[in-house]
Symmetry: C2
Subunit: 116 residues, 2 copies
């Protein structure tokens, strides 16, 4: 089997809504993912803070592929994607999301890309 | 079941390597996805053209979530992700990818986000 990268699809439930509306907290979280996995950014990240009580979207272009998040504070939910065409070590998504934003339930799914 | 969005994970094999190295062609393809699905962009897209014979990465922040691509011309492969927190109509990924970049085999996987 040939794979052209792995995607981590991470759903975090029961998060603190204030954290999911905090741009600095989400930026710190992205910085931690990038630092601890030894990823390399290419260009500036894109962040969009939706108005009112809504959430935040972040996208970072990596030389390995990309990192994305979408937060839904009204549902205490955050969705993360990490696509990497380079093999990465395991990363404790659940522990880190619990520590950073109080996540109570974290589901991590792996999808291999480009299999045939 | 509650879903907080759907992600389309699209793997296109057998593409024309020249198309996978063409920024205008990939930008046109993104524009078509966005137009035909009635998506709304938020801010400027991020594009990164890797040096030499390597591929291109594109990321677009949408009010509905995001659209991403990573191309691997040396493998005739392109990976697309579309995450939408709004329900979308079906879109003919295989037909469009065949027309735009000569894809010979297209695999579309749907992942529901935030189920619990």
């Amino acid at each position: 089997m040939v794979s052209l990268g792995t995607e981590w699809i991470v759903d975090a439930h029961g998060c603190d809504p204030a954290s999911l509306r905090s741009l600095p907290e989400l930026q710190n979280f992205f910085a931690r993912v990038i630092r601890e996995l030894g990823l390399k950014t290419a260009g500036e990240p894109l962040w969009h803070v939706f108005p009112g009580e809504a959430g935040i979207t972040g996208l970072v272009l990596l030389t390995e592929s990309h990192l994305a998040c979408h937060t839904f504070p009204e549902r205490s939910f955050a969705a993360f994607n990490l696509y990497s065409c380079r093999e990465l070590k395991e990363w404790p998504w659940a522990d880190r999301l619990t520590a950073a934003m109080g996540a109570q339930q974290v589901r991590v799914r792996l999808v291999e890309r480009g299999e045939r």
